[in-house]
């Protein structure tokens, strides 16, 4: 029905003017769908869910299935329950790899944390060329692991090691040091390379944490007579603890599941003495073709990492609560 109005601007009284139809208040179904927040949220989340599903959930579920099956290369296998886990648990090489992984993760994380903290404290000071030093410090972290590890492998080479040559020429050693040809030395070298590579991540993250600490707190502590160590221990460290815990969680996850570094540096040798869980899983699953067994080995990482991460995050929550 038309809405008649009387008059108008300069219009004659009594003349009815037809105005255009106003938009109906009823929303079209298509528009309603597009304006639905729930649908929009689902659409926006879909790419991320798809990516996570394809690259994380699917391989994980596949890994769990493989670990419960007798799958070998080229054969589908059947469900065998926990047989692979039982076999792996009784495998002396796996136990050695598990022990190596624990030592490697523990020592490398400890070194990365202490050296990273030291580096962050140094870089938090003002000095000439500070930006250049900060940028160059990230180099070990930026260079692809395989490339940098190859360089280290050459430096540790049993025959042509530049380190041995230098130490020999300087008169420090009479015989070559067995960098990679002795199990203990080999694992030690791997820890050194991992520390070298991972330390910048600690340093740069802790540095970011340090810069959020109000300098007034340090000044106040100084006025109260605190020395450098006391200022660190009673002011810096408590404030830096949450950041440190997060970095340590990341580092533990990455180091515990490390593969590339050992694969390139030692291949797990000599005589399995540097195998980590990931490299041994690869040797059994991919090189030997025992896919079920290999998956079971790699899944042994899951409960360990879960417990470590859970404990650390719980502690972090408690800190935040306090």
């Amino acid at each position: 029905m038309k809405n008649p109005i009387a008059g108008g601007a300069g219009g004659a009284a009594g003349v009815e003017v037809a105005l255009p139809h106003p938009r109906t208040s009823r929303v079209q179904p298509r528009t309603r769908v597009l304006e639905s927040e729930r649908l929009l949220a689902a659409l926006l989340l879909a790419p991320a869910v798809l990516l996570l599903g394809t690259f994380i959930a699917y391989p994980f579920v596949m890994g769990v299935w493989l670990s419960l099956s007798s799958t070998t290369v080229g054969t589908a296998g059947t469900f065998v329950g926990l047989k692979n886990f039982e076999k792996v648990w009784n495998d002396s090489i796996f136990r050695e790899a598990f022990q190596n992984t624990a030592i490697y993760t523990g020592l490398a994380t400890l070194f990365k944390l202490s050296l990273g903290m030291w580096l962050a404290l140094l870089l938090n000071r003002h000095f000439r060329g500070k930006r250049l030093v900060r940028a160059s410090m990230l180099l070990p972290f930026i260079v692809p692991t395989v490339l940098s590890t190859y360089a280290w492998r050459w430096m540790f080479d049993p025959t042509f090691s530049v380190l041995n040559w230098t130490l020999y020429k300087l008169g420090f050693i009479a015989d070559k040091l067995p960098f990679l040809s002795d199990g203990v030395w080999g694992l030690g070298c791997a820890i050194v390379v991992n520390t070298w590579r991972g330390m910048p991540f600690f340093a740069i993250t802790l540095l970011a944490g340090l810069q959020t600490i109000n300098p007034d707190l340090h000044e106040a502590a100084s006025l109260d007579g605190a020395n450098a160590w006391e200022r660190f221990w009673y002011v810096t460290w408590p404030l830096l603890k949450p950041v440190t815990l997060v970095v340590v969680v990341f580092s533990v996850i990455q180091t515990f599941s490390d593969f590339q570094l050992i694969y390139v540096l030692t291949g797990g040798g000599p005589a399995n003495s540097t195998h980590l869980i990931a490299t041994y899983a690869y040797q059994i699953g991919v090189a030997t073709g025992l896919l079920g067994e290999g998956a079971a080995i790699s899944l042994f990482m899951l409960p360990v990492l879960f417990i470590v991460v859970w404990l650390q995050l719980r502690y972090l929550r408690r800190l935040e609560g306090a």
Partner: protein, 428 residues
């Protein structure tokens, strides 16, 4: 008709008519995966032959070369993903491990054997399962001990040591002069098993009995072989060998750091081809001072382990017929003959006919030992029949690690027991 309408009608109608998603053109390209050869000229020769093969077969033949230690992971990935190279080179007795992913090539296997004078037992053991050929044997890389003749002469070893104990005595003198023997016990595909397995056999020990089901490693013979290795390692060897791969001994030998090493002929051939640069301590081409000898006798004999090579057609390949045609072409006398000459004795044939090739008449005397080396070989998994379980033992480096553990200080008896236990888990 507008572009959108055309795409709709042509595309959808086509898919509906075919009843499946469109496929890429098939059969036009053959992908062959091989190791990076220790004789680079061999790969160059294959690349040279590729266009000829493409012309002869009407399909593009492409070679891909990767590090030998990366072949096994690549094979597993290819079989599991059902995609990858149409033909993959296999080493040792790998075809038994991967047999469910390989095409039966019995027709080709029978043809080649008849055409080229019959196979070495090593070639058959590597690629044949009963009557079925799992892969087509291509060649055998013989392993001999390369040594510096003048250095051996200097310590009184005028002729090649007859026994392993003699070799230890000579090595002891050489190590004292700073020129040790170099042997890898690392996790690497060729030189480490090629030393460890024969050492076990030459002392009379074996992994399993003839049935291939009963592990018989835990014997006093095996313990004796480990005790020899412990003494040999300490007295005569470069102890860095625990971390060596298959290339380290080549470099160390050519740099004049070691006096002797078990190897294919690649050291000699590299020294010969680079004689302008690779000199001995007197400034003469090193190649003139290199000789070869077999692994010396142990108490139970003198066996070697010479690495068999074959080509397998992958089951997932869409080009099965083309792949087989190509292998027949590549392994034929004409093409293989050209490649065999380039290899200069580093790779010998998988069949005995190649012992009669004129190459052996004109080859340098130090290389002549490779001519028949393959005949005195046993296969990993001895004394049982070839099996995937033997390949599993090899892939886990159990025999190699048994020796590596012993030279690192584990008691010989304990190292043998450890290895026997690991073998029992595999052989059941």
């Amino acid at each position: 008709m507008e572009r959108r309408d055309f795409l709709k009608s042509a595309g959808i109608a086509g898919i509906l008519a075919a009843g499946r998603a469109p496929a890429f053109a098939q059969g036009s390209r053959l992908h062959v995966l091989r190791w990076v050869d220790f004789i680079p000229a061999c790969d160059v020769e294959l690349k040279r032959q590729a266009p000829e093969a493409s012309k002869a077969l009407g399909a593009e033949v492409q070679f891909e070369f990767i590090n030998a230690n990366d072949l096994q992971p690549r094979i597993t990935a290819a079989i599991q993903s059902r995609s990858g190279p149409d033909i993959i080179m296999m080493l040792h007795n790998w075809p038994h491990l991967y047999q469910s992913g390989l095409v039966d090539v019995t027709d080709l296997g029978e043809w080649q054997g008849k055409d080229q004078g019959g196979y070495y037992a090593q070639s058959e053991a590597a690629a044949r399962d009963g009557k079925r050929w799992l892969a087509l044997p291509h060649g055998i890389v013989g392993l001999q001990m390369a040594y510096r003749k003048s250095w051996f002469d200097e310590v009184g070893a005028i002729s090649w040591p007859k026994t392993l104990e003699d070799l230890r005595q000579v090595g002891m003198k050489l190590k004292k002069k700073g020129k040790p023997i170099g042997q890898t016990l690392g996790h690497t595909f060729g030189d480490a098993p090629a030393w460890s397995y024969p050492l076990m056999w030459n002392y009379g020990a074996a992994e399993v009995d003839k049935s291939g089901k009963k592990v018989v490693l835990d014997t006093k013979e095996a313990v004796e072989s480990l005790k020899f290795m412990q003494a040999f390692w300490k007295d005569a060897c470069d102890e860095g060998g625990l971390a060596w791969d298959d290339t380290n001994n080549n470099r160390a030998f050519l740099a004049g750091d070691i006096s002797c090493t078990l190897n294919g002929a690649s050291i000699y051939i590299a020294a010969k081809r680079g004689q302008d640069k690779i000199k001995d301590d007197r400034g003469e081409p090193m190649v003139r001072d290199i000789q070869h000898g077999p692994i010396p006798n142990g108490p139970a004999g003198s066996w070697g382990y010479h690495v068999a090579f074959s080509h397998a057609v992958m089951k997932y390949s869409k080009n099965e017929k083309l792949a087989k045609d190509f292998l027949k072409w590549l392994h034929g006398k004409e093409q293989f003959g050209k490649w065999f000459e380039v290899a200069e004795g580093f790779s010998v044939g998988s069949t005995k006919q190649w012992e009669k090739h004129p190459l052996w008449d004109r080859i340098d005397p130090p290389m002549k030992g490779y001519r028949t080396a393959a005949a005195a070989s046993r296969m990993i998994g001895y004394a049982g029949p070839p099996s995937a379980k033997a390949t599993e033992v090899y892939s886990k480096y159990i025999i190699v690690d048994m020796y590596a553990k012993a030279v690192q200080g584990l008691k010989a008896e304990d190292a043998v027991k450890w290895a026997a236990d690991e073998l029992k888990k595999i052989y059941g």
